[in-house]
Amino acid sequence: MCLAVPGKILEIVDSGEPVIGRTAMVDFQGSRLEASLAMVPEAEVDDWVLVHAGFAMSVLDEKEAKENWDMLKAALGDDVELVGNEPTPKGDEDDQ
């Protein structure tokens, strides 16, 4: 449940939620989800972030992020998920 998943920031918008602040549309190898950047104020477009339950927790370099994704896939395969039981990034199975 403490699994965080790496994704790339495609776009940053103001959520309109005062505390949540900036949110990003994050690409998880084909699956797109919104994540709050409140915990990583330094994050910018094209950065890779580790996202847990809708919140980016860490900014990664790209090489590290790709290794992270590969290792999560290797480690957990079908179980790669952002938290709890949903949602599961799809579309990564055919890429490898």
Partner: protein, 365 residues
């Protein structure tokens, strides 16, 4: 097997053989449920020397949630005008009178959410309902919950309630080690919890109990490397904190996340399933945010933690028994019909053993 993995395995084999020959076989606890699953799934377990024992620890949030909490969540689900918002893992955990899934079958509104933010949205969209968020999880999960509480506060959303059962890893490690002789030589420390708390958080464990602590990610080579670093320290009689996930995890951790949690929550004593109360191992809402507290809103108290007859989840998550030693494992308790929480969560030790190690477990049994 790549050459770097081969090299790590070869050195692990040599060091563990020497230590076993010296009458000091090594046992390492992996704290984190995701490590438990990854060690099976990547094949790491099959590459390790037989003299190196890996022991699963209390690092699956669902598994350490007391039955009293599940029962309370079910009671709250039966209240009028209530929506329970929960991570999916919690829905099937059996309580004394059934699970949240049972309650859903009886008409209760149980919404599975992906983020605490979704619970805030649910509350906003359902102003006539009380939305109760089941706030479980370790340090990785809590910052998002804290931020969501602040968001609800800021926007005057007054129908969101939090049933807090957030847990802290370091006090649990103290409790495991403080109880006397713990036959563990070192700790494989969780990668993503450590993003938040930082690798420095393990220094008191390494110093006070003389146990090496090494932070690792979840990939085969990274986990094996961490185990090697622990075994090297054991062989050399050292007890330091090391971080082989160093690009992702920093020494101080994520200070923004820590500050947000500290603003909203304060440490409290917490009951861990089948272990009991561990001082200052949980988090409760600070008084300023007391109006979000589901317990005081309904004037309820958490009931006792009761373990189902025959279930040894408590011993399993303290590294005192393996799932194979449970009489219910694979017969009375399966992922389809779980008895204890360690069989419910995909990160639970029993579920991991059932999925990846069932045949070996039967042989052991």
């Amino acid at each position: 097997m790549t050459s770097d993995v081969q090299a790590v395995v070869a050195e692990l084999n040599d060091l563990c053989a020497d230590l076993e020959a010296a009458g000091k076989p090594v046992a390492i606890m992996e704290i984190c449920g995701t490590h438990t699953v990854s060690l099976f799934r990547t094949g790491a377990k099959s590459l390790l020397p037989s003299s190196l024992r890996l022991v699963s620890g209390p690092g699956c949030p669902v598994c350490v949630t007391s039955q009293g909490y599940i029962d309370l969540a079910c009671d709250l689900a039966a209240e009028p005008d209530v929506i329970i918002a929960t991570y999916g893992d919690m829905v099937r955990v059996p309580g004394a009178r059934g699970s949240l899934e049972t309650m859903r079958g009886e008409g209760a509104e149980i919404a599975v959410v992906y983020s605490a933010r979704d619970a805030v949205k649910l509350a906003e969209e359902n102003p006539t309902k009380r939305v109760i968020f089941l706030s479980v999880g370790f340090e990785t999960t809590t910052p998002g919950t804290a931020l969501s509480v602040l968001e609800a506060e800021n926007r005057g959303i007054d129908n969101l309630l939090i049933l807090a059962q957030n847990k802290l890893v370091i006090p649990a490690m103290h409790a495991l080690l403080g109880g006397g002789e713990m036959p563990i030589n070192g700790f494989l420390c969780p990668g993503h919890v450590s993003i938040v708390i930082g690798s420095d958080a393990y220094k008191p464990i390494a110093d006070q109990y003389g146990k090496p602590c090494v932070v690792a990610g979840f990939e085969l080579h990274n986990m094996l490397l961490a185990l090697l670093h622990i075994v090297r320290q054991v062989a050399a009689g050292e007890n330091r904190v090391e971080n082989v996930y160093s690009l992702t995890v920093t020494e101080p951790g994520n200070l923004h996340a820590q500050a947000i949690v500290d603003k909203v929550f304060q440490p409290c004593d917490a009951v861990w399933r089948a272990i009991g109360m561990i001082p200052a191992s949980g988090l409760e809402l600070r008084e300023e945010y007391g109006r979000f507290d589901a317990l005081s809103h309904f004037d309820l108290e958490m009931g006792p933690d009761v373990c189902p007859a025959g279930c040894i989840c408590g011993e399993v998550i303290q590294g005192q028994a393996t799932p194979a030693e449970c009489k219910l494992f694979g017969t009375g308790c399966t992922p389809i019909k779980p008895v204890g929480p360690c069989m419910v969560s995909s990160e639970g030790t029993c579920a991991a053993w059932f999925r990846y190690n069932r045949n070996t477990a039967r042989t052991v049994e």
